[in-house]
């Protein structure tokens, strides 16, 4: 998949990359995973294009309704809000919440160029067929006019395009319409007024007031003299642009009208919206109408088949259904209420089945596995670290499963989860959830065999390396040669980590501060020449540092105090503040107590252990100092024994309800570990109880 970057006006600037994201998904997603925002029908090829909230535009072959899936057009990273088919079906233009407009080769399904002029979600497109002109508008209140022929001619070298913008909108634009001859363009916005321009001159023509809420759907008639608007206030209004006034108000919907469609002659309007109903109404006699069908979800978009006999309907659910519409007037009732209530058809003619969208997730305590539940109540297990699905548990009890998989460990949060596309998207950033905050033992994580020397690994570090595994380091970087010597055997420019790889089809997304997408590519494509160049421009320094320079992220230190337990009778030693990495095993602290504080081997009265809670002795014959220490010294954290459990300091804190009151007890001597004020500047001793009260929130903030 080639990616032609075309700059538009803003072009690609050096911007600070905010986060690196990736999607855990199947290689081929044959079904929409969330709602479908827009549809286009290609009459020549009988193909249906659908713009999914899962960021994928899919092409369906309507002749083969058993297996309609043809291909996917994947390059957006957020909801695709609108699509238009132009150039007689050769090109497709899409608008997305990733703030871009993309131009596609519709037949071959690849992205030709990306337009980045919008600053916010692009919500609507309008197309003037006779002039091959497309307009895009969005929440940034701007409307841009594009010449399709110019857009399709863009190449990597010739990547500038001129656009005219229509100004004057004061509020976010949610709908846009242009007549085929391109003589009028209308926008609907939260301003509740329709604004009309002449796209040829970019001159403001008029403002039409009348709606009481956002205008979400617009249709212009062929000559641009009449306009139909559907609003969140539940009404459809017919406007005369010549008279600059509303001619008719059609009230058929109970809730907001989100989608409109007219017959060729502009005589009938088909409308759908939040109330899930589709009505067909005679524009001139609004009482003459029929309820076409009742969908299962709010209606987002409708397109008519070429024979004008049926509709393809997209809703906020992933299925796309085809409904028969009445053959003109004959079936339209004269406002007989009973008939209105009864839908014309109860069953859709055809259905393109959609897949389930992930709606809920729970990050397990190990901060590596995620349980999800989708719209069909299927529970899945994902491994974030390896970017793959582990298990499909079917329709089981999600909460039960969460409980079952609870582990007594503590690992800091190091990623964010996003479900807006209905697929699991993981964000790695350096915000409040620093992706380098999770240090774990490789052995515990199951990454290294047990016989190996235990190594500390950083989840974020490993994952970033795996995601950019195929990225060949830029030859022009000077340090390259310096580093070469240090690396043994793995190939001078080979990335990746020593433990695992992620699936090659995983999309990796770089986005800038504020969330706009900068670059998207698949893991396996990172080795390509074009991709390499773009990566060199895009990959932020903090990732380069890890992936290329192979530097380790910084350890996280926890300060704490060690104190004999009150019951030990031993006078408290010096109140030294100790600092350790948060992944240090509590056992190590016990060893420290044994070796440094007590002096190894000086434990004569070991047998007379006072009834210390949680002291379970297991084979006292072990030779290692570690195990001796474990036998001789018991560390208590909030009265829970923890030195026998191979847990890290951070886990010890977590286990005991995040209370940093660690008590060490030797067989005869108990020691307490205090974790003082996080900032560390307060060196005064505090009572354990008050320590809990005062310091816990701070500690928690630090650790979580």
């Amino acid at each position: 998949m080639a990616a032609h970057k075309s700059g538009g006006q803003s072009g690609r600037k050096k911007v600070q990359v905010w986060k690196v994201s990736f999607v855990i998904r199947d290689e081929v997603e044959r079904r929409h995973r969330a709602g479908v925002n827009s549809l286009q029908y290609d009459a020549h090829l009988n193909r249906l294009y659908s713009a999914g909230r899962d960021s994928i535009i899919r092409i369906w072959n309507c002749k083969n309704i058993k297996e309609p899936y043809t291909s996917s057009m994947e390059h957006h990273t957020d909801w695709v809000n609108d699509i238009v088919l132009c150039c007689g079906g050769r090109n497709l233009i899409s608008a997305s919440s990733d703030t871009t407009v993309k131009v596609w080769n519709a037949h071959k399904g690849f992205c030709m160029s990306t337009l980045r002029t919008h600053k916010d979600y692009v919500k609507a497109l309008a197309y003037a067929r006779d002039r091959e002109q497309v307009a895009s508008a969005g929440l940034d209140r701007a409307i841009f006019l594009w010449d399709v022929n110019t857009l399709t001619a863009l190449t990597a070298s010739n990547n500038t395009v001129t656009t005219s913008s229509l100004n004057g909108n004061k509020d976010s634009i949610y709908s846009l319409a242009m007549n085929p001859s391109g003589t009028a363009i209308v926008s609907g916005s939260t301003e509740k007024v329709l604004r009309v321009w002449d796209p040829r001159t970019c001159a403001k023509l008029m403002k039409l007031k009348g709606h009481a809420d956002n205008v979400k759907a617009l249709v212009l008639n062929r000559d641009g003299t009449q306009c139909l608007s559907g609003s969140s206030d539940g009404t459809i209004k017919l406007w005369s642009l010549g008279q600059q006034r509303c001619i008719t108000t059609i009230r058929v919907h109970d809730e907001g009208v989100w989608a409109l469609l007219t017959t060729d002659t502009f005589s009938h309007v088909i409308s759908g919206g939040r109330d899930r109903k589709i009505f067909m109404t005679d524009v001139r006699i609004p009482d003459r109408r029929v309820l076409v069908c009742e969908e299962s979800a709010p209606i987002l978009k409708m397109v008519m088949t070429p024979d004008q006999g049926s509709l393809w309907v997209a809703t906020s659910e992933s299925c796309i259904k085809n409904w028969a519409i009445p053959k003109r007037d004959s079936q339209l009732a004269d406002s007989g209420d009973e008939e209105i209530l009864k839908p014309l058809s109860l069953k859709p003619e055809l259905v393109i089945k959609g897949g389930p969208a992930v709606r809920h997730y729970h990050i397990l305590n190990d901060k590596r596995h995620i349980l999800t539940k989708d719209t069909e109540n299927n529970v899945m297990v994902y491994d974030v670290l390896k970017a793959c699905k582990l298990d499909d548990l079917g329709q089981t009890d999600f909460d039960e499963e969460v409980k079952k998989r609870f582990k007594m460990v503590y690992v800091p949060n190091w990623f964010n989860v996003d479900l807006k596309t209905g697929m699991l998207t993981i964000h790695l950033g350096q915000d409040e959830n620093d992706c380098f905050s999770a240090w774990v033992s490789a052995r515990e994580a199951g990454l290294a065999p047990n016989d190996m020397v235990d190594q500390k690994v950083n989840y974020g570090n490993l994952l970033l390396q795996a995601l950019l595994e195929h990225w060949w380091r830029p030859p022009q970087v000077d340090e390259d040669t310096d580093c070469q010597g240090d690396q043994q055997g793995t190939g001078q420019t080979q990335g990746g980590n020593d433990y695992f790889s992620v699936p090659g089809h995983t999309p990796v997304i770089f986005s800038e501060v504020g969330g706009r997408t900068l670059y998207r590519l698949l893991v396996r494509d990172a080795g390509g020449e074009t991709e390499g160049v773009l990566l060199n421009e895009t990959v932020p320094p903090w990732v380069v540092d890890i992936v290329v320079d192979k530097n380790l992220p910084k350890f996280i230190k926890i300060p704490f105090y060690l104190q004999p337990h009150a019951s030990s009778g031993v006078k408290s030693l010096k109140k030294d503040r100790l600092i350790a990495n948060d992944f240090i095993q509590v056992r190590k602290v016990a060893e420290h107590v044994y070796e440094k504080v007590l002096g190894a081997g000086s434990d004569s009265g070991s047998a007379a252990g006072p009834s210390s809670p949680g002291t379970e002795r297991t084979d006292p014959e072990r030779q290692e100092t570690g195990s001796v220490a474990e036998d001789r010294v018991e560390l208590l954290c909030n009265d829970q024994g923890s030195s026998h459990i191979p847990v890290a300091l951070s886990t010890a804190i977590f286990v005991t309800g995040k209370c940093p009151e660690l008590v060490a007890l030797q067989a005869t001597t108990l020691y307490e570990v205090h974790i003082p004020n996080v900032s560390g500047q307060s060196d005064r001793w505090v009572q354990p109880s008050s320590l809990c009260n005062n310091l816990c929130p701070a500690i928690t903030d630090l650790l979580l």
């Binding site: 976010s172 939260t190 969140s232 939040r274 906020s316 996003d418 807006k420």
Partner: protein, 708 residues
């Protein structure tokens, strides 16, 4: 401080004889001494909490006794001198110089106050009692003035204080009994007012022993002292003593609660108002909570009494009219059961105590009587605002309801309005537009939609589900937006202050203004003069009214009066609430009744007792802390309208008379020591836009009451 002084005197004189309770009195003494010290320099707060509580309890009980003595000037001055001596003695004990320095001044002040009624210096120059400026305390005075004239506020506050007093004494009684300290309460109670002292010391020991009383005390003290303050103002008005009253005792109590009012700086009147209402609300809440606790005790300790009384009553009543009996019984039963759940009142007083008056039964008002812990702040000042957020993508709306006590109104000037041309024509619409707002969440401030699982644009509206009976509007005059300095700049732009405000609650908004079921009428304004919040001056403008109708149909008083009369068989005796409870034991009401020697009151009393019906319909708390306008001044100001008010007052009672006969309200300009009468016209002039924006006296807090 004058009150504290008297109370010391009372307490001291009464406690002096029984020296056997040495340790207890000693402990108390040291505390009393420490209270003032704490006020000036607050060290060691936690221990002083108890102290404050004790002091307050002491005061609560003793005040009535003090008041009862006050009418006789001779006795009063004598008291003052003794108290002075006592205090000096105390200060000797404690060795606190500060106290010494503090009290004499008060003593001096007090004595001069005492002389004034004779000299008649100030009679006739002020419509109501006035408040001293203690040094930048106009923020305090303005709020006190305003609340005084807030409909139903004084009345409710009175009963709150009364209930609090009841509860305190009740708990102490219970404690005495249960702890079996051996002091046979009823035995020693005769005649001597040992109670103040003893209960206090007992209270102290209670507090020290970790009684729940101790943690609440500071807030309650402040509430109590606010009531005391109003009581003093009332007393001054009865005596036609026009010397400004010093609200220092209350101020100190307030500072105990909230240290931000420490020091002699100017403060935000709004902040004070919020603090005051919070205090009262918390006190109400406390009372309600305590009642729950007390219920358990009551089951043990009081049920016996209650039952006994009940049966006695029943016996008594069966002998009388039978026809109404069934009704009454069922009513009573309901009441008892309900009160055992959570309400009630002076739970100490068994609900069924005393034979009810026939009026009670006829009145039928008993069903909705307020109970102890009746949270009138919540009831009168609390409104509910609804925050609606609608995702513009899925159009799903989430609502969040919040309660509020005042509404902050941004100053919207005419120029600020957009080119849309929809300028609010009517004054009320200005407020509605400023307050019922809609906001568009967009750009980087998008809304996380739970349905879409993403950030979307959203519309957020603020609506008002219910507006309180007493609506407080704070005009956003102070903004720290420009200038990085600490001092906040003031917006001096004119904002109209309508005397009548259209209601803008959810129910009313869609209805055209004339047809809305309710509206609001201005009863008070606090104006601010000056450039910043920390400097300048506050003046309160209030609608002059004795709010007589607040006091009609007061069940709380009725019940108590009935109990009183049953206990003392003297309907006209009990004017004090605090006495009434302990009436049978402490007989505080006796001296109190002599307070009504004031001709005015007496005539009224005679009058009312003559018409028993009327008498019982008016809560006597009116004569404790109610507003009493100086008739001569009012008449002088505007004879015609005042006459009606006077009539209303003298007849004292009939709602119809008062309501119908107040055609044109007069306004009072309360500027610390000077209270001036304004006609409506004059008042409107005050509120009218001033030519010079900078130095004008600008409305800051607006107080509206709901009509009807």
């Amino acid at each position: 401080m004058t009150i504290l002084l008297e109370e010391n005197a009372a307490g001291e004189s009464s406690s002096a004889p029984p020296r056997k309770k040495l340790c207890l009195s000693l402990s108390r003494r040291s505390k009393l001494v420490r209270v003032p010290r704490n006020k000036t320099a607050h060290v060691n707060k936690s221990t002083l909490e108890n102290v404050a509580g004790n002091g307050f309890k002491d005061r609560k009980l003793s005040i009535s006794s003090v008041k009862s003595n006050s009418p006789s000037d001779f006795g009063d001055s004598e008291k003052a001198s003794t108290s002075l001596a006592n205090c000096e003695e105390e200060s000797l004990h404690s060795g606190t110089a500060m106290l010494n320095g503090y009290l004499p001044g008060d003593g001096h002040n007090k004595s001069s106050t005492d002389e004034s009624p004779g000299s008649d210096t100030g009679v006739g120059c002020s419509p109501v009692a006035t408040l001293c400026n203690l040094g930048n305390t106009c923020f305090l005075n303005s709020v006190i003035y305003t609340l005084r004239f807030a409909p139903a506020f004084l009345h409710n506050l009175h009963h709150l204080a009364a209930d609090l007093g009841d509860l305190t004494s009740k708990q102490q009684q219970v404690k005495v009994k249960s702890s079996s300290l051996g002091r046979n309460v009823t035995g020693t109670s005769s005649g001597k007012s040992w109670s103040t002292k003893d209960l206090l010391s007992l209270g102290g020991s209670l507090a020290n022993s970790g009684d729940p009383l101790q943690c609440k005390s500071r807030i309650q003290v402040a509430t109590e002292r606010l009531h005391d303050l109003y009581e003093s103002l009332h007393a001054a008005e009865v005596k036609e003593n026009s010397d400004p009253f010093q609200p220092d005792v209350f101020l100190h109590a307030l500072r105990e609660v909230n240290p931000i009012f420490e020091g002699n700086q100017q403060h935000d009147a709004h902040e004070l108002l919020v603090c005051l209402l919070d205090n009262i609300r918390e006190t109400c809440r406390f009372l309600a909570d305590q009642h729950k606790l007390a219920n358990e005790q009551r089951v043990v300790t009081n049920n016996v009494v209650c039952d006994a009384l009940d049966t006695a009553v029943n016996i008594h009543q069966t002998s009388s009219s039978n026809s109404k009996w069934g009704v009454r019984r069922s009513w009573k039963r309901k009441k008892v059961s309900s009160s055992s759940q959570k309400n009630a009142a002076s739970n100490g007083l068994p609900n069924g105590i005393g034979p009810e008056h026939p009026q009670l039964m006829n009145g039928g008002v008993s069903t909705h009587q307020p109970v102890t812990g009746y949270n009138f702040v919540a009831n009168d000042f609390e409104g509910v605002t609804v925050l609606c957020t609608t995702c513009l993508e899925c159009e799903h709306t989430t609502e969040r309801k919040e309660t509020f006590y005042d509404i902050c109104v941004p100053i919207t000037t005419a120029e600020q309005d957009s080119d849309e041309g929809d300028l609010p024509q009517h004054v009320s619409e200005v407020y509605q537009a400023a307050v019922v707002t809609s906001e568009h969440l967009r750009d980087l401030n998008k809304y996380w939609c739970e349905q879409c699982l993403r950030y979307n644009e959203a519309r957020r509206c603020v609506r008002y589900e219910t507006l309180p009976k007493l609506l407080v509007l704070q005009l956003k005059r102070f903004s720290s937006t420009f200038g990085s300095m600490v001092c906040m700049s003031k917006v001096n732009d004119y904002m109209p202050t309508p005397l009548t405000l259209a209601c803008f609650c959810e129910q009313c908004c869609p209805i055209p203004e004339e047809k809305r079921p309710h509206h609001y009428e201005l009863f008070g304004v606090i104006m601010h003069l000056g450039a910043t919040i920390a400097s300048g001056h506050y003046v309160a403008y209030v609608k002059a009214s004795e709010n007589v109708c607040d006091y009609y149909h007061c069940d709380r008083d009725k019940r108590k009066s009935s109990s009183l009369s049953s206990a003392s068989s003297g309907g006209k005796s009990g004017n004090t609430f605090s006495g009434e409870k302990m009436g049978s034991i402490f007989k505080f009401f006796r001296p109190r009744s002599s307070n009504s020697s004031n001709s005015d009151v007496q005539s009224k009393q005679h009058h009312t007792t003559g018409n028993g019906v009327y008498y019982r319909h008016t809560c006597r708390s009116m004569d404790c802390c109610g507003v009493r306008l100086n008739r001569s001044v009012m008449n002088g100001g505007d004879s015609m309208m005042q006459k009606s008010q006077m009539n209303g007052l003298d007849v004292g009672v009939s709602v119809a008379v008062v309501d119908a006969s107040v055609p044109e309200p007069v306004w009072l300009e309360c500027d610390d020591e000077t209270v001036r009468l304004l006609t409506r016209k004059e008042f409107e002039d005050v509120l009218a836009p001033k030519p010079s924006k900078s130095s004008a006296l600008t409305p800051y807090l607006l107080f509206y009451s709901k009509c009807p």
